[in-house]
Symmetry: C2
């Protein structure tokens, strides 16, 4: 059977992913090394994802702010583990003017900065410096901040959405009076991320704490939300860090307690990014293109009038009227009346993953009926129903798609989590080419033999199992 995307997932998952992005018109590689351009359809998805996340973050009493893009190197250098983790991928600004020299536009040597800046890879340092001034007394705590910004980490093996030099994200940075509060905050956001992925992205996740090897550079505890892609690889989709007093001590975030004593604060940071979009696309899509959960679909329903020359005006107007009725019940609808053949329109919106496709031809119009097809189930779901029933039932149908997409992903996840009794069993699975989330006792992965397997099979410890932290998940990852 011919599919809209070639190669198929089974043939070559990684090429399929690239072609999916092109076919759905989501993004493209840009002329800037490792950076992508997010095209309008992709950005519309991100705006929905961002607005819903923003609402959930604000509901926690967090306030948005905006800190500078550039970070003085001296700030960056204040926390030793942090600098070790990020220095190798920092974009450095060294000049502030261009000049024509020998016919070439070049950095003007006279504009060289005494202290270069780096483009933020993350903002713990510059926000830590601000917090050291904003926090004076226990009354100033907790201080809960977030920003939606672009960051940059020079990537050697970029991949659209999953790993790009520049990416967009939200980064929350909170300060507390006690370790208990800070740790509770990091754990709470971990849960909020997991809930968001379940409820909004229809993605079931593996939750747990990172092992020391995989912690954020400068954290005491890193809590992660891992997604399982259709090819069995892991995607780290969101992390939340208990930073202990590392940044408080490096930047002097101190407060005068109710007892009159000066103490160091405790901080957290947590973030999710456009990377989640890669997880969304790789979790739900199929060989015909994108499949979007209704919650983040720019158009939840597309209406395609199947016109002939003699009835085009009338049928387009009829379809537009159905669109208005659906918009009136709060649904995002596109009525595609553009000058293109109906089958081409159909494939265009299949590839772009619109959850529900509604076709209306002359006969349907006469009968006040419409033919409805779910993107997630395809042809088998096709049915012709009364337009009145479509309008009355559309919200429920979309909720059903959202729920079924989650359940389908959860059922697949179950087949991809494999318990292994010992390292022999793990090695034989890996040697056989199995790609999955292997679950084994954590102490098995803290020895030389396991380090050898990491090297040989390019796997990594994803996280401890929240249900029993003596177990760890290991997998290949994006």
């Amino acid at each position: 059977m011919k599919t809209a995307i070639t190669p198929t997932r089974a043939e070559n998952f990684s090429e399929w992913y690239q072609n999916l992005i092109t076919a759905a018109d989501l993004a493209e590689n840009s002329p800037v090394r490792g950076c992508m351009t997010i095209k309008p359809y992709g950005w519309a998805i991100w705006e929905l994802m961002r607005d819903e996340m923003d609402k959930r973050i604000k509901a926690q009493g967090v306030q948005n702010a905006n800190f500078p893009l550039l970070i003085p190197i001296e700030f960056f250098n204040k926390e030793a583990e942090h600098v070790a983790g990020f220095a190798k991928e920092a974009a450095v600004v060294t000049h502030y003017r261009l000049r024509m020299i020998d016919g070439t536009l070049q950095p003007d040597p006279d504009s060289k900065l005494t202290e270069p800046y780096i483009i933020r890879p993350t903002s713990e340092t510059i926000i830590g410096e601000a917090m050291s001034r904003w926090v004076q007394s226990y009354r100033d705590l907790p201080l809960k901040l977030n920003q939606w910004v672009n960051v940059m980490r020079w990537e050697m093996r970029p991949r659209m959405f999953l790993r790009t030099a520049e990416f967009n994200w939200q980064e929350g940075h909170n300060a507390f009076a006690t370790h208990a509060e800070a740790n509770a905050d990091a754990r709470k956001m971990h849960g909020i991320y997991a809930d968001y992925m379940r409820d909004v992205l229809a993605i079931p996740v593996i939750r747990g704490e990172k092992t020391p090897e995989e912690r954020f550079a400068g954290a005491d505890h890193t809590y992660t939300v891992e997604q399982i892609m259709q090819d069995g690889k892991a995607l780290q989709a969101g992390t939340s860090h208990d930073l202990g007093q590392h940044f408080a001590k490096s930047f002097g975030i101190q407060y005068l307690g109710a007892d009159g004593k000066l103490q160091n604060a405790w901080t957290t940071s947590w973030g999710t990014s456009t990377r989640m979009m890669g997880g969304l696309f790789m979790t739900h899509s199929d060989d015909d293109g994108l499949v979007l959960p209704p919650a983040v679909a720019p158009y939840q329903i597309v209406i395609i009038p199947i016109t002939r020359d003699e009835n085009a005006a009338e049928l387009n107007a009829f379809a537009e009227n159905v669109g208005q009725q659906l918009r009136a019940v709060g649904i995002r609808v596109l009525v595609d009346t553009c000058d293109m053949r109906a089958p081409d329109k159909m494939w265009k919106w299949i590839k772009r993953g619109v959850p529900l496709r509604v076709e209306i031809g002359a006969r349907e119009m006469a009968d006040a009926m419409a033919t409805v097809t779910r993107r997630d189930l395809g042809k088998s779901s096709k049915q012709t129903i009364a337009i009145a029933d479509l309008v009355a039932g559309a919200s429920d149908m979309l909720a059903g798609i959202q729920r079924d997409m989650y359940n389908a992903a959860a059922a697949r996840n179950d087949t991809m989590i494999v318990n292994v009794a010992d390292l022999d069993a793990l090695e034989s699975e890996l040697a056989a080419g199995r790609v999955a989330f292997f679950r084994l006792k954590y102490d098995m992965t803290t020895n030389e033999r396991f380090d050898g397997l990491i090297e040989k099979y390019k796997i990594s410890r994803r996280c401890l199992d929240d249900n029993d932290p003596t177990y760890v998940f290991v997998a290949k990852s994006y």
Copy 2:
């Protein structure tokens, strides 16, 4: 009379402005040269401004997208006027890694880029390059794009909100098949900006085309929206450019016409930024602090319970209930029950410009009354009214504040626009220290004598008068 902000506007306008920003907790200078940190209260205002502008832009059929932060120097260099306009303030990225050398963290010489990048000062070039691929046929036009991003122009004399090295903005970039359509688009957005400032920011503007001396680098026509600050200086608050075929030719944005001929497209660009916030603050605020129009006030109403120890719990709960009633009619309300003296709360929210202040004490609670004061009118507007009337009338009261603030600014503008008959008259006004928008025949300002006045009095041509383009406005500016 003691004022909350010292010095007053009359004593020192520019210091007053700095202190206003601090007193209202809007922003602060950051450790990065020329860059500010926008604090939560300031950012909440920007989010309201941005969301409303975004809605108006999308209503024009424009789609948001996201292009890279970095621009290859070769792209930047393709349009001669453009590069001449921006090269002198470009932040340059030359390395992609840091290394510890002799105990100092430095750009790693081994990571030097063959082709440096600049941080976008504006995105005509990189978007032009994308358009050259996205536009192939007349069917692809018009192409209407916008992005909300940060940009950077190295500023030698930074000033919070008005002129900062990094700032946030929206930049629209559209391509059309004909010059007529492109020019109409540039003019339409000019009008949309003016309407937005009138309806949302309560700011009356001077609209007109820039003279050739003041055009955007690479434009055929630049349309500007100028605001008059309380000190009589001009603030350019938004511009819209008809770029002719400059960028289409430099980047090869060509389309195959319906006639089968290959033609160059015509492009426009238009932008507004966080600079508008500076205009908002300097237009409406007074010697007691910020005055916000209700449309962009994070809290439109603040309720302050005037509690005593014995009734605090009951009164706070009562105030919270009034807050809920107001929220139910769609108003953004803060009920300030925090642990602070009532007069301190009152001054805090006066300085932060909350449009309507509601005080409820024991007697008011008993009578189901509240004392209401408008921020724009101050004490003279103080009245005690039934809470039922407050809830029923709050939307109208806020609309009245919005309208009156606009009218007050318009009345002040009228006093600041001065017609001058000749250059002698202009010079004597300037020599007398008058700061205003001087209106005179444009041909008077295209000679050496006028250039001498520009130099001497630091004025500039702001724009031609839209009502009669043979006249031009000249003024000092921010």
